[in-house]
């Protein structure tokens, strides 16, 4: 099973995105032979009350629930969010919650973020942080959100180690760093692999994926593309190159979808 753990529908205010509906996403999955995708609504990042976006997502993906797994976007500093969490979970069957402190005007280290993570954990849902939505170098003058450093995400993980996590736009120059290894030890956490490379040629925003996998274990990484922000073929090429870089075919299958599947099965 191949699962794209990082997909979107909805609008990005600063540039039109192609194929940004659930229907188009399913077509894209078909074209690339991907079985399923975890999808959230970008609009939820920008609406004051993100629940509108969750309602839109549910309506848009309702006919594709055999292929798409909806993730809510919620702002735990907005009124009555716990009620919306309940609706997202029980009414819409959403599997997780994407949190965007950098866009929703609260700090990941403070402002009740840890409490919110616990609440999502208790609802049986996956907690998803995203380091960014776009490269800061090309941001709009209206987009003042800063990247969330991995160390801040891991700080939350240390405080709530029994939640389940999916980290999107996951980047740290060194996944083999002791701090990362120690923070994720025993935690059900996965990182998308969109900034990894299997060519051994690393750069300022490229880490060595096989090294990361060796340090944290193949169960920590999931195929994820940020579609439709990013084009698709690059990610498939990366997985193909990873295949020759990993000795164990089971490890590759885990990254392709086994891990995401396991994360969802526990929901």
């Amino acid at each position: 099973m191949r699962i794209d753990a990082h997909a979107y529908m909805g609008h990005w205010p600063f540039r039109p995105l192609r194929g940004n509906t659930c229907e188009a996403l399913v077509r894209r999955l078909d074209e690339n032979e991907i079985d399923r995708a975890l999808v959230g609504n970008i609009n939820g990042v920008f609406y004051k009350n993100p629940q509108w976006a969750n309602e839109e997502l549910f309506a848009d993906c309702e006919s594709f629930l055999d292929r798409l797994v909806p993730f809510a976007v919620l702002n735990p500093t907005y009124a009555d969010w716990e009620y919306d969490l309940e609706i997202c979970r029980k009414g819409f069957g959403m599997a997780g919650v994407r949190l965007y402190p950098q866009y929703h005007d609260y700090r990941i280290l403070g402002d009740g973020c840890t409490e919110a993570v616990k609440r999502i954990r208790d609802a049986g849902m996956v907690v998803s942080f995203s380091s960014r939505l776009v490269d800061r170098r090309q941001r709009s003058w209206m987009d003042s959100a800063e990247d969330i450093p991995m160390k801040n995400i891991l700080h939350v993980v240390r405080q709530v180690p029994d939640a389940r996590y999916l980290i999107l736009h996951a980047f740290t120059p060194d996944f083999a760093n002791d701090d990362v290894v120690e923070a994720v030890d025993g935690v059900d956490i996965q990182f998308d692999m969109m900034y990894g490379t299997a060519t051994q040629q690393i750069g300022p925003v490229l880490y060595d994926l096989p090294t990361g996998i060796a340090a944290l274990g193949p169960e920590r990484f999931s195929f994820g593309t940020a579609t439709p922000f990013r084009e698709y073929p690059s990610h498939v090429i990366r997985m193909e190159l990873l295949e020759s870089a990993l000795a164990d075919p089971k490890a590759l299958a885990a990254v392709w979808g086994g891990n995401a599947s396991r994360l969802l099965a526990r929901t």
Partner: protein
């Protein structure tokens, strides 16, 4: 039961997954993924903007190039500010070129603020068979007159001039906090140079190198002598299509800036005819190299 009722009743879309009742695994996987590597390998490729990470291990670079079927790569090591430092980097490139003359093409890196040494180094590197300059960095804007003697030398030699370009807000709208030195070349600086020297072979580095690529492309649209390389870590869907639409296929040069998977993937993702894709991957830059007799056939 309607699907919606079922989902609500089961408590979760994933409840359904766990029950196995409505999960669809696509029946067969004939290896579209395999075929993507077939597609990757279909195209001859020459990389217009590459780097040698380990000066003593060009073989490591060749290995990465082989993984995505890059036949030749133009490489540089833009590190260091003083003449001893840039000479040392160029020496490493010359050694690599000589070890793999059919695969590696050299781009000469200098700091133009050391004007006399820089010009002398350009003469030396072109004399030793480098194809041009690159990756000129952030010491001075590419339109700075300090570059003029070097540019004139390159015109004489039919050598290309590739420079690092950014479009950060701090360059475009100076009231924003600085995220790259103010001396970094922005697209308009390339346009200024091209106006002064229309015969120069100017390559605007990495439209995907971080920065507002739409702004870059729009700024370069009406400067038809400037080439644009497609490298950089940014792999936004639609970026290449936008560049093709406004600049035309002939001005685009495939490049990686050592982002191999995405470097190739973004060109495969673009909505291009096959001849156009081949032109970007190979033909356009090979034609530039032809001007100096350094092309491959």
């Amino acid at each position: 039961m309607k699907r919606r009722d079922f989902m609500v009743a089961s408590g979760s879309a994933l409840g359904a997954v766990a029950m196995g009742s409505c999960m669809t695994t696509r029946p067969s996987r004939p290896s579209k993924a395999k075929s993507i590597m077939d597609r990757v390998m279909t195209y001859r490729k020459v990389d217009a903007h590459g780097h040698l990470l380990d000066p003593d291990r060009p073989d490591e670079l060749l290995k990465a190039m082989d993984l995505v079927g890059i036949e030749r790569a133009a490489i540089s090591r833009p590190i260091g500010d003083n003449p001893d430092q840039f000479r040392e980097q160029n020496d490493a490139i010359l050694r690599a070129m000589k070890m793999h003359p059919d695969r590696l093409l050299g781009q000469c890196y200098v700091n133009p603020l050391h004007a006399a040494d820089a010009l002398e180094e350009v003469n030396r590197c072109l004399g030793e068979g480098m194809i041009g300059l690159g990756e000129l960095y952030t010491h001075a804007k590419i339109s700075n007159p300090i570059y003029f003697p070097i540019v004139e030398k390159c015109i004489e030699e039919r050598a290309s001039i590739m420079a690092h370009a950014r479009a950060d807000l701090s360059l475009l709208r100076p009231h924003h906090p600085e995220t790259t030195p103010a001396t970094t070349s922005a697209s308009k600086d390339f346009v200024e140079l091209a106006k002064r020297y229309p015969e120069a072979i100017i390559i605007h580095g990495h439209i995907g190198g971080g920065g507002d690529w739409e702004h870059m492309v729009k700024t370069l649209r009406d400067a038809p002598t400037i080439y644009v390389d497609t490298s950089g870590s940014c792999t936004d869907e639609g970026m290449i299509d936008f560049a093709v639409r406004h600049l035309g296929v002939d001005r685009l040069l495939f490049a990686t800036d050592i982002n191999f998977e995405t470097g190739v993937g973004k060109i495969l993702a673009a909505r291009l005819g096959e001849d156009d894709r081949r032109a970007i991957f190979w033909g356009n830059f090979n034609n530039i190299l032809r001007l100096r007799g350094q092309h491959a056939d």
